[in-house]
Amino acid sequence: MKKILKSISILLLTLSLVACGTGQNTASADTLYIGIMNTINGFNPVYNTEAAANWVIRMMYPTLLDQPESTVFESNLAESFETTDNKTFTVKLRADAKWSDGTAITADDVAYTLNLAATPDVESSNGTYISTLLGVDASGKLVDGATSIEGVKVVSATELTLTTKAAADPNYIKEMIGFNIFILPKHIVEKLDTKNIGSSTLATAPSVFGGAYKFVKYETGSYVQLEANETYYKGEAKIKNVFVRITDGTGLVTGITSGDLHLLAGGGIGTVTVDDLAALKANDSLTVESSSALSTQLMYINNSVFTSKEIRQAMTYAIDRQKIIDQLLKGEGDKIATMFPQASAYYNKDVAALDYDPAKAKELIAASGFDMSKEITLLVPTGNTIRVASANLIEQDLKAVGFNVKQQTYDFTTMLSYVKKGEFQLALMGLSYNSDPDNTGYFSSDGASNYSKVYDKTVDELWVKGKQTTSKEERLPIYNEIQKIYIEEAYIVGLYSAKQYQIKSKKLTGGITAFWAGSLGKIHEWTLAE
């Protein structure tokens, strides 16, 4: 028996020695650690449809403009971006801008970037952004026979003009082309096989940059390493190294609590659940703020199944949205009536929403003669825990007024495939938006993502009119009208818009802002205390 005790004590001793190790490393002040939840889809600035990738690419490439707030645009690569007729935009570039290899950034690079997106056979997510330009079709591709976009003219090394097909709101053009499109180094990209740009070195291991940071390394699914670009025209970034660490929600909480992370990426890509928020707020070393987000959670109704307006209204009346916000979001969310979130400049707070009224719902059901024994399936995607929990409340509410609802949970991709095919009745889904209120792709008859199968001519016309109108004052009533129709017809059920959080270590000066998409404009000025 003595021997057992002896061997056990040796074992314990070894374990404790190993455990002592070298202790934890503390980060030096020139290295910033950012936590992100979504994995990064590569670094293709021509084709990036995923918010996380887009966010990291923004650190590496210049855009013509910055967008610090939803309706505010500031100069970035472009010193000025002006128009007198809302059709022809004159863009003047900074003369001192250089790529990281020393080559000047010129109007040719800008024109090349736009033309590349328009080239048939080049896979580009910028197509939609440039589709307003003269000489391209609705997908943003060159019209037959053209070799370059008619609406893009280089005037000099630092000046070019952009011409649109029809007059447009300058803010729309500024956001879509000025802010959303990353300018590429022509002298590098033109040497690549642009037909397969997605698998070229530009996308997988880029080497020349014009933004605040340069790409160093990507460990798939694990982290991205960046270093300051010393030639950056706004000035070399004060924080020399950035690591964007990919982890799950729990990893974000443990990381920021332990000090391994300095900043959570925020937006939809690096956020914590409301349950963890209280503990983080109580932590003295962190700053935690929240703000309304440009995103919504919706219950999609398949309008080709539920053709009766009364039934759709009954569903809307039946769901207690305030309860979802109070119980699940602990108040950290806004109630919404349509697809417009409160953070949108076009949100109409005067449109009377169909509020929680189960009695009214029952009345409508009784009047409609709808067969209430019919089983209705509510598709719920996994991933967002609040949304999954909200499905239970929604199911209860709908059952309470007599709907025979059953939940069906899938992973997001599976659910999306059913929703796209129209093989669904009800489905929960979140959307996030540009600042511009145009959402033709999601909510017009021929939009590629018209999941709710709404075919309403009046709404279609309003979307078109909204896109062609050039000032916010004139556009407001148009989008108000759309919101009114959506509430009256109850095409979809707006549920809530969860607040987004800005969570960072107090050591970090800078960090993400309330208008999340524009948070990186001053990343070169961020500093980190020892």
Binding site: A19, Q24, I40, A203, T220, S222, R245, T414
Partner: protein
């Protein structure tokens, strides 16, 4: 023996073909179109079609399998749908991360599990044996994620002794041997809890059986020292069932590490697999499947060879 090994290796080829075909079928039959994940909702149909075409999704299933097979035979596993980086470029660092974690875990588990099992059998029904049985119950039944999060809470957040995750500290201060060991400790403890318990149980029962054998009694009667009886006659003979366990443990670690790799943000195959599944990254999934199949087949073969080594009665 040589002929036997050759035969076994040749049998692997049709097995792998079948595994690859059926996994290709199943992966592609799963609902969810990968192209949906790589387009944004405001894109037009024409743009979406272009992406499908670039991913090769516009061809019929069998043609795609044929192409995949033809390329795979030539060593080209395709590119990841998600990052468009060649699969063969992503895999090596992931394999090495998982193998590191796996090797340390297995060696650690066996170094602890086997001696404890032997002692448990020798002092059957003593307080020590009861203690071990209790530990086994706990070790086999405690979920990895619970143990993992518990350890992170205690050692990383409260005591601030160990990192919360990752393989090394990212940045200039990381990468030293001590740093690597620090990052290994928690995941290894979590993974090995199960394997140690498992090993103790098997070694214990196998040894108890062996103690009944006549040759053990003979060895004791001959007056051999107790240690020699236990290790040379006892343990060696109990190794046959244990080799079976070990050879099935190794491929299982690839799977068992999924949860642990997620919790500790370990950049290995398990994490990559979860990522690939969620993003319908077919080429990546196929490569991981193939890798797992090869690992199972090879370790089965090794186990069969080892049987012959430890037990001279087994001949091929």
């Amino acid at each position: 023996m040589g002929k036997y090994i050759l035969k076994r290796i040749l049998i692997m080829i049709p097995v792998l073909l079948m595994v690859s075909f059926f996994s290709f079928l199943i992966i592609n039959m799963a609902p969810g179109d990968p192209a949906d994940l790589y387009v944004s909702p405001d894109m037009t149909q024409a743009q979406i079609e272009l992406t499908r075409q670039k991913l090769g999704l516009n061809q019929p299933l069998l043609v795609r399998y044929g192409l995949w097979l033809w390329n795979t035979v030539q060593g080209d596993l395709g590119f990841s749908f998600q990052s468009r980086i060649p699969v063969t470029q992503v895999l090596p660092s992931k394999i090495s991360a998982t193998v590191q974690l796996m090797l340390v875990t297995l060696v650690f588990s066996y170094l602890i599990g086997i001696p404890l099992g032997v002692l448990s059998a020798k002092y059957k029904n003593s307080w020590f044996d009861n203690l071990m049985t209790g530990f086994n119950f706990l070790g086999v039944s405690i979920p990895n994620f619970f143990l993992g999060l518990g350890l992170i809470y205690i050692f990383s957040l409260k005591l601030k002794l160990l990192p919360t995750g990752g393989m090394v500290t990212l940045g200039p201060s990381g990468g030293s041997l001590g740093d690597r060991i620090n990052h290994l400790i928690l995941p290894v403890i979590v993974l090995s809890t199960f394997y140690i318990s498992n090993m103790i149980r098997y070694v214990r029962s196998s040894m108890i059986d062996i103690f009944q054998e006549n040759y053990m009694r003979t060895a004791v009667a001959k007056g051999l020292p107790q240690r020699k009886v236990l290790l040379k006659h006892g343990l060696r003979n109990s190794l046959v069932p244990i080799i079976t366990i070990i050879s099935s443990d190794i491929p299982k670690l690839l799977g068992g590490a999924v949860v642990t790799e997620q919790i500790f943000n370990w950049p290995g195959i398990g994490q990559l697999m979860m990522l690939a599944i969620n993003s319908r990254d077919y080429p990546m999934l196929m490569a991981i499947n193939l890798l797992a199949a090869v690992a199972v087949l090879i370790f089965n073969l090794i186990a069969d060879i080892m049987y012959a080594v430890v037990d001279p009665r087994i001949r091929y």
